[in-house]
């Protein structure tokens, strides 16, 4: 039986890696993948705690996260395609119209 903190450690590392990816990468697609990474690390936490507490609600939450992640990816990729059509780039530093 692997103790839960092990899983949580893996989850924390994955989350941090995903976060670093969001912060340092400029390709919108890669940033999206990094976000997926973070969502998955959270899912791992949910499942680990569901096991520890023997509560099925944790797995139900993961189910919803997966559903919303799917929606998010679909909409997000549509947006990226729209941006690419308009500006021929997916570098998000080129998309800075909100600069003050």
């Amino acid at each position: 039986m692997i103790p839960v903190p092990y899983y949580l450690t893996i989850s924390a590392v994955l989350f941090t890696v995903g976060m670093a990816g969001v912060l340092v990468r400029r390709n919108a697609l890669v940033i999206f993948m990094a976000i997926e990474l973070m969502l998955n690390s959270v899912n791992l936490t949910f499942v680990a705690f569901a096991r520890q507490l023997a509560a099925i609600e944790g797995q139900v939450a993961v189910f919803f996260v997966i559903v919303i992640a799917a929606v998010e990816v679909v909409v997000g990729l549509a947006i990226i395609i729209a941006i690419f059509r308009a500006r021929s780039t997916v570098d998000i530093d080129d998309v800075d119209l909100l600069r003050g």
């Binding site: 912060l23 400029r26 998000i92 800075d96 119209l97 909100l98 600069r99 003050g100």
Partner: protein, 632 residues
């Protein structure tokens, strides 16, 4: 109910003329205005037929207006001998002047506005007169002030008229502030502003309190009735149309102060000191204004100063406990001064607005009836025997003499007699300069301007009949009205007033040599007229000596006001406008705006537009929060 109708008719006229006057046919505003006042006069005549008017008075209580704690005020009207006399003066003279205005204002494009204001004035004045308590009277008091302002500035596109309106309003504000303070003090003391309640409470009121109240109220009276030192607005008020000067600034509104003192007579009787002040101010004003009238060149301003002077007589009467005489003089003065103003207006009408007496002259020939009316009014003003002014002025001087105790109060009488003499001089001068034929060697025939005027070759002409008839009626009253107070015919008006004021001639009046006093005042008047005839024979205006300079500067009172009050105020306002407004207030506003702009300029650098920056800041915040929670 009939009391309410007296007020409602002119109010209806105001509404019709004010809201629909512009769409009515051109002659309609004058007819509506005159008819409404005529109906009001009829209602007043019907009302005074009721016998209780002349006994305890007819009251109409409309509704409770204010009720707070132990204080309450009802909107009530009262018609007793005092207000009956005033009501008849207001509606009667007002009616005649409305008719006169039809002719006078026939060419004016603002006719409907004019008649609307005039109707509103009559309604307001009736509120003032018929008021059953001081609060309702104050409403009327302020409303007539408003109407006065509107009508002085009626030709508001003329700067002088607009300025004169403002001046009248501001000077009246000073008086009204005192008046309001007096009312408040009275409300606190008596817990009621009903005239009956005030009368009942005044006999038991402490003398210092009564003195304070009455002095404050008298400040209001000096403002409204143009007494020293608040007289300065009335001569300037002559910028308004002449019928307005006749109605508001001679016959009715300016007498409101006298009327108010008459109304609160029991209270004033309680304050010996105030009565002395009233008498002294009245006598001083009478003398002062008469001397200034000697040297004025503007015919209407002569009449204005004359009005101030005559109002001084009325206050003198009030101050020497001769209220019936004062009210009687008020009545006769309303008639003959209105006549004088209407005659002056007729001259102005004929001369296309010229009113400077140096450019007038010889008008007796083309304007025979106007000249006759003016002379009758002048005789009444001067106190020529058996005209209206003779009886009333004589009565005041007689009572002043009878009331005198000590040399100071004889001085009041002496000032009155001197004023009577000067009055005769200046009104004779005005009549001569205006109507007497110019000397043959006169280089500039005064008709030049008129004949070359824009209206073609028409020279001075007699006024149209709607202007002539009111003057005729007033002339008849000026000649015969005095007998209402003549003891030889029973003095019906005077006696009912005396009954009301509960002041039959004082018992020792018999000791006063009435005949001798009458002789003195009559000879003063006649001597004045003769002196005037001699001084201004051949239309020669007296050259301005040092004294004349002094008088033509109106005793330098206005210069003093300008230097002592207006100038510092102006400089203070200038300082506030340039330094405080621009420097401090604008500086603060602009400074705040600048600070916001600066802050925005610095903060906008945070808004890089790079999503990754935002995310980094978000992470930094998260780390901080985490650190806080973990180390807590």
């Amino acid at each position: 109910m009939v009391l309410l109708f007296i007020i409602l008719f002119p109010l209806a006229g105001w509404l019709i003329n004010g809201f629909a006057g512009g769409r009515l046919p051109p002659r309609a505003p004058g007819l509506v205005g005159s008819a409404s006042v005529g109906l009001s006069l009829t209602a007043a005549l019907v009302a005074v037929q009721q016998p209780e008017v002349w006994r305890e008075g007819l009251t109409a209580s409309l509704f409770t207006w204010i009720s707070a704690g132990e204080f309450s005020a009802r909107a009530s009207l009262v018609l007793d001998p005092l207000s009956a006399v005033m009501t008849l003066v207001v509606t009667g003279v007002g009616f005649l002047i409305h008719i006169y205005s039809i002719g006078y204002m026939a060419e004016d494009p603002g006719k409907s506005r004019y008649f609307a204001y005039l109707n509103l004035f009559i309604a307001s004045m009736l509120v003032l007169v018929l008021a059953g308590n001081l609060l309702v009277m104050f409403v009327g008091w302020e409303l007539v002030g408003l109407c006065s302002y509107l009508l002085i500035g009626f030709w508001f596109d003329r700067e002088r008229a607009a300025d004169a309106g403002r001046k009248a309003f501001i000077v009246n504000r000073i008086g009204d502030a005192g008046f309001l303070l007096g009312i408040l003090l009275l409300a606190v003391t008596v817990k009621s502003l009903d005239f009956k309640a005030i009368a009942d409470a005044s006999s038991s009121m402490a003398v210092p309190v009564a003195t304070a109240i009455t002095l404050l109220l008298f400040v209001g009276a000096t403002g409204k009735s143009a007494q020293l030192p608040l007289h300065v607005w009335l001569p300037d008020a002559m910028e308004g149309p002449t019928p307005v000067s006749a109605l508001i600034h001679a016959a009715t509104m300016v007498t409101a102060g006298v009327y108010m003192i008459g109304r609160l007579h029991p209270l004033f009787t309680q304050a010996e000191l105030t009565l002395g002040v009233v008498a002294a101010v009245g006598a001083a004003t009478a003398f002062f204004a008469a001397t200034v009238a000697l040297v004025e060149h503007d015919l209407k301003r002569v009449l204005a100063y004359s009005t101030i002077s005559q109002l001084g007589y009325m206050f003198l009467a009030m101050g020497v406990a001769a209220a019936p005489a004062g009210m009687f003089h008020l009545t006769t003065h309303a008639v003959f001064k209105a006549l004088l103003f209407l005659a002056a207006g007729s001259v102005m009408h004929a001369m296309h607005g010229v009113i400077d007496m140096r450019r007038l002259g010889g008008l007796a020939r083309p304007m025979r009836w106007t000249a006759l009316g003016f002379v009758i009014g002048a005789a009444a003003l001067a106190g020529f025997p058996f005209t209206a002014g003779f009886f009333s002025k004589d009565l005041i001087l007689e009572r002043a003499f009878a009331h005198a105790r000590g040399w100071g109060s004889y001085l009041l009488w002496a000032a009155g007699v001197a004023t009577a003499f000067i009055t005769a001089v200046y009104i004779t001068r005005a009549a001569i300069l205006t109507f007497a034929p110019p000397p043959s060697h006169h280089d500039h025939p005064p008709f030049d301007s008129a004949q070359g005027g824009p209206s073609g070759s028409r020279g001075p002409h007699e006024a149209p009949p709607e202007m002539g008839w009111p003057m005729a009626a007033l002339a008849a009253l000026s000649l015969g009205g005095g007998f209402l107070g003549a003891s030889a015919v029973g003095a019906p008006l005077l006696h009912s007033l005396e009954r009301f004021f509960n002041s039959a001639p004082e018992p020792e009046a018999g000791a006063v040599p009435v005949l001798a006093l009458t002789l003195v005042s009559v000879s003063a008047a006649l001597a004045g007229m003769l002196a005037g005839l001699w001084l201004y024979r051949g239309r020669r205006d007296a050259s301005l000596s040092a004294l004349g300079q002094f008088l033509s500067h109106k005793w330098y009172i206005e210069d003093l006001y300008n230097a002592a009050i207006v100038g510092p105020l102006r400089r203070g306002a200038q300082f506030l406008a340039s330094t405080v407004e621009l420097g401090i207030i604008d500086g603060a506003v602009i400074g705040v705006a600048g600070a916001v702009r600066q802050a925005g300029a610095s903060f906008r650098r945070f808004q890089t537009g790079y999503v990754r920056n935002y995310a980094a800041v978000l992470l930094a915040g998260t780390v901080l929060l985490l650190g806080y929670w973990l180390t807590r």
